[in-house]
């Protein structure tokens, strides 16, 4: 009889709360035939370190926030296990927190790269048509249909490039890190599918400079592909070359044209459009730039089809979305839900506001989004504005604010972030954000702004939105406008 499979969450979040010591304790306490497996975070950051025990032929037992001293008792079976959380629709995250990281279990499973195999059995036109039918939209924040981007790039001659935006620099969003840490082969499979669709041989993967574990795990997965290629595995022959780049800080580096400059070795500032990257992007070649989560959605679409993908979500925005929920909630973490669910439902999924505290507002979309008051949380998740004053789903970060932070402090925080992160290339963003911040620094709360201050802020917001060169400046009025509109007349 084979032993138990014991997994321990060992992502960056788990390591920050003592997973290494728990793992060491498990290795000491486990039976010789037990398999001890480090896995990524399953999204339940709040519960880390998470330990699961699976006896052959039985369901898993789950233990949360495990301390090293508890390990012996847990492994001997005297500690009652807890029910795994429910209410999510786990597709993209299916293997996160399950697949082992040391040996990269996924790579050896029969299902590995089945989506890529399905894509290779089709010609590129058919792959584009399938993904178009599925209606997959970019999960980085713009929600542009990826198949249209592919079609646009395919109108121009090869060589074409695929650039993977894994910069993920929006405070309060950590989905791409979870995917790269917990299931790096899913990303590589998505990349291979997209490269096939646009007939591209060279892929540039641009990973945030601080996301060490993401880069390390993606690097290990890449090495496995290379080893399989060296062994003559036929399915690897057509895989694109993947060039790994690391960012070096700066929110603006998540802007797609900034990544192009950064890779090429120029200053990390945005480029004017036109030309669109699909016409003249990296090294002036046709380039498709995609977010990690978008690419990670592709393997399942190729495997299960467009109709399957459309079973969840809305007609306009099919599929699921990863949403990072943090702040004043009981269970902060990463949640995968169908597009179209509401922020209120997400807060409930995260356990709601802890007892004795009350919800003051929600920040959606971080410094590029805006505030929602508690009465506005029933708008379905979709692309575009969630509220006319600025809140957006964006890359999927929701921060619940309770009374422990004043709204004024929160507004200043976001405004100061945009002012600091402005790259300075265009005047509206460089000067406008500083001026807006200065106005907020003059008063104690949003309601105390004079009519003249409000008028100046409104004018500044218009200039920022319409005259800034890139998304950072264009979206920076969101926190200001939404705070003015929703809380301007309220005393704080």
């Amino acid at each position: 009889m084979s032993g138990r499979r014991i997994t321990i969450g060992n992502g960056t979040c788990a390591q920050a709360v003592g997973a290494a010591a728990v793992l060491a304790a498990i290795r000491v306490a486990a039976a010789p035939d037990d398999a001890v497996v480090a896995v990524g975070c399953d999204g339940g950051c709040w519960a880390q370190p998470v330990l699961t025990i699976t006896d052959p032929g039985q369901s898993s037992q789950r233990h949360e926030q495990v301390e090293p001293e508890q390990v012996v008792a847990i492994l001997s079976g005297v500690v009652p296990s807890v029910q795994p959380p429910t209410g999510e629709q786990r597709r993209t995250l299916a293997r996160c927190g399950v697949a082992g990281l040391d040996a990269m279990d996924t790579f050896r499973s029969p299902a590995a790269y089945a989506g890529y195999a399905a894509a290779r059995s089709l010609d590129p036109d058919a792959v584009v048509a399938l993904v178009k039918e599925a209606g997959l939209r970019g999960r980085g924040g713009a929600y542009f249909p990826i198949a249209l981007k592919w079609e646009s790039a395919r109108r121009f001659p090869t060589p074409r490039y695929l650039v993977v935006n894994a910069e993920e620099g929006e405070p309060g969003a950590y989905k791409d890190r979870h995917l790269m840490e917990g299931d790096p082969h899913l990303l590589l499979e998505g990349i291979a599918i997209a490269a096939h669709a646009i007939d591209c041989e060279d892929v540039y993967l641009y990973i945030n400079g601080q996301a060490q574990m993401s880069a390390a795990h993606v690097g290990t997965a890449l090495a496995q592909i290379e080893a399989a290629r060296a062994d003559g595995a036929s399915w690897t022959v057509q895989m694109p070359r993947i060039h790994l780049y690391r960012g070096a800080g700066g929110y603006v580096c998540g802007e797609e044209s900034v990544i192009l400059n950064s890779i090429e070795g120029f200053k990390a500032v945005p480029r004017p459009r036109p030309p669109l990257p699909t016409e003249a992007g990296l090294f002036a070649r046709p380039t498709v730039i995609s977010n990690v989560e978008t690419l990670c959605s592709l393997p399942a679409i190729l495997q299960h089809g467009a109709a399957w993908f459309r079973e969840v979500g809305t007609a306009e925005y099919p599929g699921t979305k990863l949403v990072s929920v943090s702040g004043a909630v009981q269970r902060p973490g990463l949640y995968e839900v169908p597009m179209g669910v509401t922020p209120r439902a997400l807060l409930d999924l995260a356990g709601g506001v802890p007892d004795g505290r009350s919800l003051q507002a929600v920040v959606m979309g971080g410094p590029s989004g805006g505030f929602l008051s508690p009465d506005l949380l029933d708008v379905p998740l979709a692309g575009g504005l969630a509220h006319p004053t600025g809140a957006v789903l964006g890359s999927g970060g929701i921060v619940a604010l309770d009374q422990s932070v004043s709204l004024m402090a929160a507004v200043r925080h976001l405004a100061a972030y945009n002012a600091r992160e402005s790259c300075g290339k265009c005047t509206p963003c460089r000067e406008g954000n500083e001026r807006a911040l200065a106005i907020f620094d003059r008063v104690e709360d949003v309601a105390a702004l004079s009519d003249a201050d409000q008028a100046e802020l409104t004018a500044l917001c218009d200039v920022l939105q319409f005259a800034s060169l890139c998304g950072l400046g264009q979206m920076s009025p969101g926190p200001l406008r939404s705070a003015l509109a929703l809380f301007g007349s309220r005393s704080l």
Binding site: T12, W46, P171, G172, G249, K267, S326, G327, P332, V405
Partner: protein, 141 residues
Amino acid sequence: MDRRGYEDLLGDLPHRRDQVLPALHLAHGVMGWLPESAIEAVSRHTFVPLSELYGIISGYSEFRLAPPHTPHIEVCTGLSCLIAGGDAVLATALDLSITVEPIACRFLCGVAPVAMVGGHYYGRLTGPRFSTLVARAEPMP
């Protein structure tokens, strides 16, 4: 390390502009900051003029032009961390009169509040726990 040392370090990288960022990372990794000798080596290796290279470097918040304070301690000041008690960690840093680098977000919001001490991130921090970690990193004078 002198310029020649950094040039040897960059040896294998192609002499092209698209190697500027990888070269800077490689050189930065030696000491955790970029001395002039390192920048000169990257400039010579990639044929990007020094004047332009400084502009490129200064656009990235994570490249340092001076050694970091030791022990290097970062405290996350993002909204999620502040709500979860990050202000208490900052207050403790103030009480201890230590130098900390405030960070906008380290993307560990699910285990907030977060600080980095001695190269390791710690989550669900309290003031007293932070104090213990700091004491372990360097004995107080």
